[in-house]
Every structure is written in C-alpha cells, then in structure tokens.
Symmetry: C2
Subunit: 134 residues, 2 copies
DNA sequence: TACGTTTAAATCGTGTACGATAAACATGGG
DNA sequence: CCCATGTTTATCGTACACGATTTAAACGTA
C-alpha cells in the first residue's frame, strides 16, 4: 500500500532534517513555516496555512512559539482586523543565511540524483492534485 | 523543495483516509497498525514499530487505545518477559472484512493509474532507502 | 553465582495535527 | 443603519510523534 511508503518516507525525511535544524533551534514544521515566510513575508496565518495544508488550530500555537523565540512578529492587519499578519523579525531574517545549507544537505541525504528528485517531485504533485480533487 | 511535497501529500492521504476510517472507529495511524497485524498477528511491539518506523513511546499508548476498544490483546511473551506480544481479538480479526474496501477506495482517490502508483511506490522506496542509510 | 551490559517496553515532557466550536470582524441586502 | 451571513483566527480536547529517561528482563563473563 502506497500510504505506508508515503507515511514512513515523510518520517524519515523529518529525521534527516532534525540534526540540521537542531543547531537553528527549529523543529521540522517550524522550519517549513520559516521557509514559507522567507519567500515573502509578511503573510497572513491563512496564507501560510494554504501553502502548508495547515489551519489556524495548528498554526496559532506554532506561530506563538516562533514569536516567543523572537523569529516572527504577529499583529492584526489594520485593513482587516480579522487577519493576523505574520512578519519576520531581524533575527528571523538573519536565520535564513544560517539555514542556507539545509536544503543542500537534505537533498544530498536522499541519495537521489537531481533528475530523480525532479521526477519524484512531479509525481508527488500529481498525486496531491488527485487526492485534493477527490 | 521535495520535503514540502512529501509533507503535504502525506497529510492529503490522511485526509482521504479519514472518511473511510471513521465508520470503523479508527484513526489513520491506528489503521496502519491494524493492517500490520492483519498480515500476521501476533507481533511484538518492536516488530510493529520496525514496520512503521515507530517506537514504543508512540506505540504503547496507541496499542492501549486499540486494546481499550477491544481490537487487540497485549500480553507479556512467556519466553522473553521483556517483550509484549500484540494479538488480534475476534473483533479485531472481524474488522479486516469491514475494511476490505478501504485500500481500493484510497487508491481510486489518488487519481493515478496502477502503473503510476507502482512507479511512485518504487521511487518512494528508493528515497527511503537513501534517507535511512544517510 | 554475581554483576555489568544489552535489549524491550513504558513513562514523561514538548510539539505538532485536527475536528468542533467560539469570538471578532467584514460585507451585502433590506 | 441593522441584521444575517460568511470569513479569519483562536481555543479546547484528543491523538499522534519523538527525545530522554526509567524499569525490568535477558545475557555474557568471570
């Protein structure tokens, strides 16, 4: 069954990332949030959730932790007070440089060629598209 | 980054399984444990963990819940009192028939052909092998 | 037999996930 | 302007995950 492979490959990935992220003081999901913010902060909670497939019930506590360690700042959007805008602090922005090698280390750990990675990624996206539209 | 795709594809899979498993009263990880047991109970806690990439800290509470709803029985192995042997109850065995359609429904939801699924599975296993040996 | 080492589960604390619900705010129609 | 409706985030309870530690049983060696 494919779900077995997906389930444990995901865990294996998290395990490979752990030693890379520990020095940065980030968990794997926290890292994914930071990567999302590095691509263009500020973002609303909902926007971040959309990218990662998470909702406020998961993100709110996580973002509060990231705020507590000084990497992000949360503030109500003045145009729409329902939204919470999440922005990087100086420290959060600086972390990007320190995390620069993480993707390379991680992809090296896969043992796959660039070609193979690209291919797997395309297939995963197709799977995802199917799952989401079902 | 591939980890994003793997991370969210795994979540998407869990979401597809949920409506299929709710009628059975199982969570997604619980279902994976039951599938493992259906392939040949009894199994020790360690053996189940080996198959799913989990350890006793995750499995012990989960197995206790499965025991509480009457699907499995846990008992110390008389040959080696360190081990806990996990076996199916009558009810746990009977559930296999009720869950017979789940894999088909799930693979239908992927929107992939059998060929594509086999291919993706092979690539995932290769990835996994790489990640585990790193 | 005694004892240090290894192994298998369990326990504990922290951090995700997520369904269900609540609270605060925006918006459109009357 | 008011209210019904929808949207966005937060809160709560339950269930994984996992690192670190503990407990108990098995094993090896003197």
């Amino acid at each position: 069954m494919m779900c077995f492979d997906l389930y444990s490959a995901n865990h294996d990935f998290a395990r490979v990332y752990k030693p890379l992220l520990d020095p940065l003081g980030l968990t794997y999901p926290q890292y994914l949030v930071m990567v999302t913010l590095w691509t263009g902060a500020p973002l609303s909670v909902g926007k971040i959730g959309q990218r990662l497939g998470l909702e406020s019930n998961t993100l709110t506590p996580m973002l509060k932790r990231l705020e507590a360690i000084g990497l992000v700042r949360r503030s109500r959007d003045s145009l729409d007070e329902r939204r919470v805008s999440v922005d990087l602090t100086e420290s959060g922005r600086a972390l990007e440089a320190r995390a620069a090698d993480v993707p390379n280390c991680a992809s090296a750990a896969t043992g796959l060629s660039l070609e193979e990675m690209r291919d797997l990624q395309i297939r995963l996206r197709k799977l995802q598209k199917g799952l989401r539209s079902s």
